[in-house]
């Protein structure tokens, strides 16, 4: 298990400033979809029973309905659990030395990347869309020195505050490492 006291590649005197996950609304959307998927068979069954009243008493149809319903609900439950894992295990950790991006990609892939704060050149926050504007969530892009990829915080709450915090920490870190002009 991950512990806040055992960061990947822990540096001396490194302190966690913030642990960020996607906005809770992103998880609610998936839970809502899961609930809809769970209710869907009841409506479908009602419609089917109107057309085929013997559906639940047929020699072949009843076992098919039982096996189908069982497989369907096991799948929906797994989908909900994995949606939670996707939300829960995708985290960004901001420390006084670096930002760490831990990403769960699908069932069998996990990516951990990091960026030193003193290499940060530009931080941009972006909120687009109706729900993100109302609920104050969006993206933060961190551009670093060199040709390296931009660091990308996806659908996080209060992106403006996170951007300000990263800029401030990067400045402090540059002064600490004697890189500030």
């Amino acid at each position: 298990m991950l512990s806040i006291y055992r960061l990947p590649g822990h540096l001396p005197n490194e302190k966690i400033i913030k642990v960020i996950r996607k906005d809770i609304f992103v998880l609610f959307k998936k839970i809502f979809l899961g609930a809809l998927l769970a209710l869907l068979p009841f409506f479908v069954l009602q419609i089917m029973l109107n057309s085929f009243p013997a559906l639940l008493s047929g020699d072949l149809s009843y076992p098919l309905v039982v096996l189908g319903a069982s497989a369907y609900y096991l799948f929906v439950w797994l989908f909900l659990f994995f949606s939670f894992i996707d939300y829960y295990l995708d985290i960004w950790i901001i420390t006084n030395e670096r930002i760490i991006d831990i990403k769960q990609e699908g069932f069998f892939s996990r990516v951990i990347s990091e960026q030193r704060l003193n290499r940060i050149q530009d931080v941009t926050s972006e909120v687009t869309g109706i729900m993100p504007t109302i609920l104050h969530y969006g993206d933060v892009f961190v551009q670093t020195a060199g040709t390296q990829q931009r660091f990308y915080f996806h659908q996080i709450p209060n992106p403006d505050k996170i951007r300000d915090a990263i800029i401030k920490l990067a400045e402090i870190n540059k002064i600490k490492h004697g890189e500030s002009k």
Partner: protein
């Protein structure tokens, strides 16, 4: 085409095998990479409990069916329900 009903159980068992592999992988990810806190433990326990309940409920319904019955796949397949013409 006549076949014993238990033939339907084979694809279902294959599905259960795949589902079990994915579930175990998800639980492993949760316990291995989740934060050491109550949320990780609670969500994992809820997942296992609800899964066990779903499997038990499925077993109860599946167990009531006589799987040795032989059924015909095409018999009556193209007969339209009578209420379509009312």
């Amino acid at each position: 085409m006549v076949f014993p009903l238990y033939f339907l159980l084979f694809p279902y068992l294959i599905f259960l095998g795949v589902w079990a592999v994915f579930s175990l992988t998800a639980i492993y990810h949760m316990l291995r990479f989740g934060f050491k806190n109550i949320t990780t433990l609670l969500v994992t326990i809820i997942y296992i409990s609800v899964s066990a309940w779903l499997l038990y409920t499925s077993y109860k319904y599946i167990n009531q069916i006589n799987w040795d019955t032989h059924v015909s796949l095409l018999k009556g397949m193209f007969e339209m329900p009578t209420q379509f013409f009312k």
